[in-house]
C-alpha cells in the first residue's frame, strides 16, 4: 500500500478567496501510523534481522522497511537507509532500485536540495525503464510534479501530474490524491473550472476507494467552493457528508473542516457571533492535531470576527497571536491575506505607527508573489495538454476502428459459410443473408462515421496549433522587430544633418530608405502569417483586403462579392476559410494565367458557400488533386466539415466549398 504524506495548508487563489485546499503529497511507499516508540522497537528488530543470513531481496526489503519507519522520526536517517538500500540493490540485482531512488529524491526535496531531488527522480525513472510498475512510476511523476510546483514551474507541474494520472487512471486509490493535488494547482492559479473538475474527480475516486484523507479534503473543498460561489445546494450536499464523517469516525480533520465551514457559512450570513464560536472550535481542533497553518488560519479568522462584532482591541490582540505564530512558521499566503487587515484594525484604534509597520511587512510579501506569471504559463500548458489528449482520443478511436473492421471481416466470412448450406435452409439463408447485409451496411457506416470523427479531431488540433504558432510569430515580427526598426529610423532621422557633409547626409538617407524597405517587408510577412483584419474585423474585410492587395501587386482583376449574414463562425473557422481563399488565389495567380477571378461568399440558411472562379487555362483535376496546396485546402475543408468541389476546363476553373450550417 502506498502512503500519503501530507500537511495541512490553506491556500489562497488569485481572487483572494480562501480555499480550504490542503497539500496532499504522495511520498513513500508505506504509511506509518504507529507512534515513535513502537517504531523504534520495530527498527531495532529489523536491524537485528539484517545481521542474519538472508537473501539479497530480503535484505533490500528489510532496508527499505527501516528507511520507511524512520519517516516520522528523522529525515536524515531515512536518507541514509534509502541510500544503503539503493547501493545494495545496485550492486546485486536492481531489486526495488527505483523505489529507493524515489525515496532519496523525496528526502532531498524536503531538505530543499531540488537539484539532487531531480537527479534521483530521473534515476528512478531510468531504473524503472520499460518496467510496467505503474504505481511506482506514478509516484515518481507525482513527486516530480511537487518539485516543479516548488520551483514555480506550473507548466511542468501540471504535465507531471497528468503523467502520474495516466499511469494509474484505473486505480481509484492511487489516482485520487493526484487528482486532488492537480485541482489544487489549478485553483491556486486561478483556473477554477479545471480545478473544480479535478476536485470532483478526486471526490469520486476517493469515495469509491474509501481513501479517507483525500475524501475528507475533497469534500471539504467542494463544500467551500459551493459556499464561496453561493451555490447553496452544493454547499449543503457536501457538508452533509463531512458532518457524517465527523460524527461517525470522529476524524479530527473532518471535524475541523466541519467547524471551519460552518463558521464561514455563518460569517457569510453575517452571524458573526456564531461564526466566532465555530472558528474557536476549529481552532481548538487544529491545536489538537497541531497543524500550524490551520491554527494560524483560524486565529486570523477569530480576529476578523471579533472586529466584526466591534471588539477592536480583542481583534488586534488576536492578530498579535497570529503574528507570533507566523514568525515561527511563515506562510506567505496567509500573511498576504491578513497583515493588510491587521494594519487597518490598528489604524482604526489610532495606532498609526504600528499600522504602518505592519503595512510595510505586507507590501514586502506582496512583491514576492508571482501569481500573474504563473497564470500565463498555465495557459500554454493547457493548450499543450489538450493536443495530447486529442492524440490519445485518436489512438483510442483507431483501436475501435480496427475492432470494427475485424468484426466486419468475420461477418463477411460468416455470410460466405452460410452461402454453402443447402436445400432446406434456403429460406433461412435468404433471411440471414439479408439481415447480415443490413448489419454489414450499418457497420460500414459506423466505421465511416468514426473515421471522419477521428479526422476532425486530428485536424482541429493540427489547424489550431498551426494558427496559434502563426499568430505568435506574426506578433513577434509586427510588434517586436518592426517596432524596433521604426525606433532605429527615428534615431537616424533625429541626427542633426546641418553639420554633415553632403555625402554623409546621402548615406543617411539611403540607410533610412533601406530601413523603410525592411519595415515594409517585415510587415508584409507578418500580415501574411496572421492577417490583422481577420483578428480585428471579420472574414469579409480580411478577404477584401487580401484580394485588393493581390490585385495591386499582380495586376490581375479580382472581384469579391458576399451575400447574406456571416454565421457565427469561431475564430478558427474564419481563419480556415480565409486560408482556403488565400491558397486558392495564390494557386490561380501562380498557375492559371487568368485575367479575371471572382470570389463569392454566399451565406444562406442552409450553408455557407465559397465560390472561386477564374478564366484561366484550367488544369487536370486528376493529376493535381494531391498537390500540397490542394491538400492544405482539403484538410481545412474537412476541418470545417464541408466539402470541396473542383471543376476545370480550358475556359477556367471553379472551386466550390460548401459548409453546412451548424445546427
Amino acid at each position: 500500500m502506498k502512503g500519503l504524506y501530507f500537511y495541512g495548508m490553506l491556500q489562497t487563489n488569485l481572487k483572494n478567496h480562501i480555499y480550504l485546499l490542503k497539500f496532499v503529497i504522495v511520498f513513500f511507499l508505506i504509511a506509518t501510523g504507529r507512534n515513535g516508540f513502537s517504531q523504534q522497537k520495530e527498527i531495532d528488530s529489523l536491524k537485528q534481522l539484517l545481521l542474519q543470513e538472508i537473501s539479497d531481496s530480503a535484505k533490500v526489503d528489510n532496508l527499505m522497511a527501516i528507511s520507511r519507519l524512520y519517516q516520522s522520526i528523522n529525515l536524515d536517517s531515512v536518507l541514509r537507509y534509502s541510500k544503503k538500500t539503493a547501493e545494495f540493490s545496485e550492486s546485486t540485482n536492481g531489486y526495488r532500485l527505483a523505489e529507493a531512488y524515489n525515496n532519496m529524491g523525496a528526502c532531498h526535496f524536503y531538505q530543499s536540495s531540488l537539484d539532487s531531488a531531480d537527479y534521483y527522480y530521473q534515476g528512478a525513472l531510468k531504473a524503472l525503464g520499460t518496467n510496467n510498475d505503474s504505481i511506482t512510476k506514478s509516484m515518481v511523476y507525482c513527486n516530480m510534479a511537487l518539485m516543479y510546483g516548488n520551483l514555480l514551474d506550473t507548466e511542468r507541474e501540471i504535465e507531471y501530474y497528468l503523467k502520474a494520472i495516466s499511469q494509474v487512471e484505473q486505480n481509484d486509490k492511487e489516482v485520487c490524491s493526484i487528482y486532488y493535488n492537480l485541482s489544487r494547482t489549478y485553483m491556486n492559479s486561478g483556473f477554477e473550472e479545471k480545478g473544480l473538475q479535478y476536485l470532483e474527480e478526486a471526490y469520486k475516486t476517493s469515495k469509491r476507494s474509501k481513501t479517507e484523507i483525500v475524501f475528507d479534503y475533497a469534500t471539504a473543498n467542494l463544500a467551500y467552493y459551493g459556499l464561496e460561489n453561493s451555490d447553496d445546494e452544493m454547499f449543503r450536499r457536501y457538508i452533509k457528508e463531512i458532518d457524517s464523517l465527523c460524527a461517525l469516525n470522529g476524524n479530527p480533520s473532518s471535524c475541523y473542516s466541519l467547524s471551519y465551514l460552518n463558521a464561514s457559512y455563518n460569517a457569510k450570513q453575517k452571524q458573526f457571533y456564531r461564526a466566532l464560536q465555530e472558528y474557536q472550535k476549529a481552532n481548538a481542533i487544529a491545536k489538537e492535531i497541531n497543524f500550524s497553518e490551520d491554527i494560524m488560519e483560524t486565529t486570523a479568522m477569530i480576529a476578523r470576527m471579533e472586529y466584526a462584532l466591534g471588539n477592536k482591541v480583542k481583534a488586534v490582540k488576536t492578530f498579535a497571536v497570529f503574528d507570533s505564530l507566523y514568525q515561527s512558521s511563515p506562510d506567505p499566503d496567509l500573511g498576504m491575506k491578513n497583515f493588510n487587515l491587521w494594519a487597518v484594525y490598528e489604524a482604526s484604534l489610532g495606532n498609526y505607527n504600528k499600522a504602518y509597520e505592519i503595512r510595510l511587512k505586507w507590501e514586502a510579501l506582496k512583491d514576492s508573489v508571482f501569481a500573474k506569471e504563473k497564470r500565463e504559463i498555465l495557459i500554454d500548458s493547457e493548450k499543450k495538454y489538450e493536443t495530447e489528449k486529442k492524440e490519445r482520443e485518436i489512438a483510442e478511436q483507431e483501436v475501435i476502428i480496427k475492432e470494427q473492421e475485424l468484426d466486419l471481416a468475420n461477418k463477411q466470412r460468416q455470410i460466405a459459410v452460410w452461402g454453402g448450406v443447402g436445400g432446406i435452409l434456403v429460406l433461412l439463408l435468404g433471411v440471414t443473408f439479408w439481415t447480415g447485409k443490413e448489419r454489414q451496411k450499418r457497420k460500414e457506416q459506423e466505421i465511416k462515421h468514426l473515421k471522419t470523427q477521428q479526422e476532425v479531431v486530428r485536424l482541429e488540433s493540427l489547424v489550431a496549433g498551426e494558427e496559434k504558432e502563426r499568430i505568435r510569430l506574426a506578433q513577434d515580427l509586427h510588434d517586436g522587430i518592426n517596432g524596433d526598426l521604426s525606433v532605429i529610423k527615428f534615431k537616424i532621422d533625429g541626427v542633426d544633418k546641418k553639420q554633415m557633409s553632403g555625402t554623409t547626409t546621402e548615406g543617411l538617407n539611403q540607410a533610412m530608405n533601406m530601413l523603410d524597405n525592411a519595415i515594409n517587408q517585415v510587415r508584409r510577412i507578418s500580415h501574411n502569417l496572421a492577417p490583422p483584419s481577420l483578428q480585428n474585423f471579420n472574414l469579409d474585410e480580411a478577404i477584401k483586403q487580401y484580394a485588393s492587395k493581390m490585385q495591386t501587386v499582380h495586376g490581375v482583376e479580382i472581384d469579391f462579392q458576399t451575400f447574406g449574414e456571416i454565421p457565427n463562425f469561431s475564430a478558427d473557422e474564419e481563419t480556415a476559410l480565409y486560408r482556403i481563399v488565400q491558397e486558392l488565389l495564390n494557386n490561380i495567380i501562380k498557375h492559371a494565367e487568368a485575367k479575371e477571378t471572382l470570389i463569392q461568399l454566399n451565406h444562406t440558411e442552409e450553408h455557407t458557400e465559397l465560390v472561386i472562379e477564374d478564366d484561366g487555362k484550367g488544369f487536370d483535376t486528376k493529376i493535381s488533386k494531391n498537390g500540397i496546396g490542394l491538400q492544405n485546402i482539403a484538410s481545412r475543408v474537412a476541418f470545417l466539415k464541408g466539402d470541396l468541389h473542383i471543376e476545370s476546363s480550358k475556359e477556367g476553373s471553379t472551386f466550390t466549398v460548401r459548409i453546412p450550417k451548424k445546427v
Binding site: F490, I519, S533, S548, I558, Q561, F563, N602
Partner: protein, 212 residues
C-alpha cells in the same frame, strides 16, 4: 504659438523615439507620454494637449474604440493614429472614429511634424503613402465599374433557366441541387443586377447581353 502633443503607445522605445524627434522642433512641445491608456485618460482629464498621437495596437485597449471616445470627449484635441498596420480597413476605421490623420510607424520626422502642424489647425491630412493605400482600395472596388455584374458559372446557368421560364423546383431538379439553393441563387442574381423581380432580372440580363 507652441503646439502641445501627447503620445500613447505601449512600445516604450517608440514612445521615446517619437518624443526625441519632436523635442527638436521649436514649435512643438511634448506634453505627456503614456504606455497605458488608463494613465493617459487620467491625465487628459486634468489637461488636454492640442494633438494626440495614438497607437492602434494597445495592450489592454482597442485603439479604434479609444479614438472614438476621445474624439467625442475632447473635440478640440486632434488625434493622429500612429500604427504599423497598412491595411485600408484600419485607416478608414480610425478616420471614421474621428482621427484627423493616420501615420505609419516608419514615418519620417518631416512628415510627422507637417502632419502635426496641419491637424493642429483642425484640418484632416494624410501623407502620400497612406493616401495611396486608400486610393488603391477604392480603385479596386468601384461600386459600379461596369454595367455587367460578375456572375459565377452556376449563376449564369440558372439565369438561362430562369429566362426559359423554369420554376425553382424544375431548376433544382435539372441541376441536382435543393430548391432552397436555387432560391438563394435567384436572390443573389436580383441583388447583383439591382432589380426587384424576375421580370427586371431578365430585362437587365438581356440588356447586358448575358441571355438572348
Amino acid at each position: 504659438m507652441e503646439i502641445s502633443v501627447g503620445i500613447l503607445d505601449d512600445h516604450e522605445m517608440i514612445l521615446e523615439g517619437l518624443a526625441t524627434m519632436l523635442s527638436q522642433s521649436e514649435t512643438i512641445r511634448v506634453h505627456g507620454c503614456w504606455t497605458h491608456h488608463a494613465n493617459c485618460l487620467e491625465d487628459l482629464k486634468k489637461q488636454c494637449p492640442n494633438v494626440l498621437l495614438l497607437d492602434i495596437n494597445l495592450k489592454n485597449a482597442n485603439g479604434i474604440e479609444l479614438c472614438g471616445t476621445l474624439s467625442k470627449t475632447y473635440p478640440n484635441m486632434s488625434i493622429i493614429a500612429v500604427s504599423n498596420y497598412n491595411e485600408s480597413s484600419f485607416i478608414k476605421n480610425m478616420l471614421r472614429s474621428g482621427a484627423k490623420s493616420y501615420l505609419l510607424k516608419n514615418t519620417s520626422r518631416e512628415e510627422l511634424i507637417t502632419t502635426i502642424q496641419t491637424v493642429y489647425n483642425g484640418e484632416r491630412y494624410l501623407p502620400r503613402t497612406v493616401e495611396n493605400i486608400l486610393l488603391e482600395d477604392s480603385l479596386g472596388y468601384p461600386k459600379l465599374r461596369s454595367s455587367i455584374p460578375k456572375l459565377t458559372r452556376r449563376e449564369k446557368e440558372i439565369l438561362i433557366y430562369i429566362s426559359e421560364e423554369h420554376t425553382n423546383a424544375e431548376i433544382a431538379e435539372k441541376l441536382f441541387i435543393s430548391i432552397k439553393t436555387v432560391e438563394s441563387h435567384r436572390t443573389n442574381l436580383l441583388s447583383k443586377f439591382g432589380v426587384k423581380n424576375t421580370a427586371g432580372l431578365v430585362k437587365s440580363a438581356m440588356n447586358a447581353g448575358l441571355i438572348s
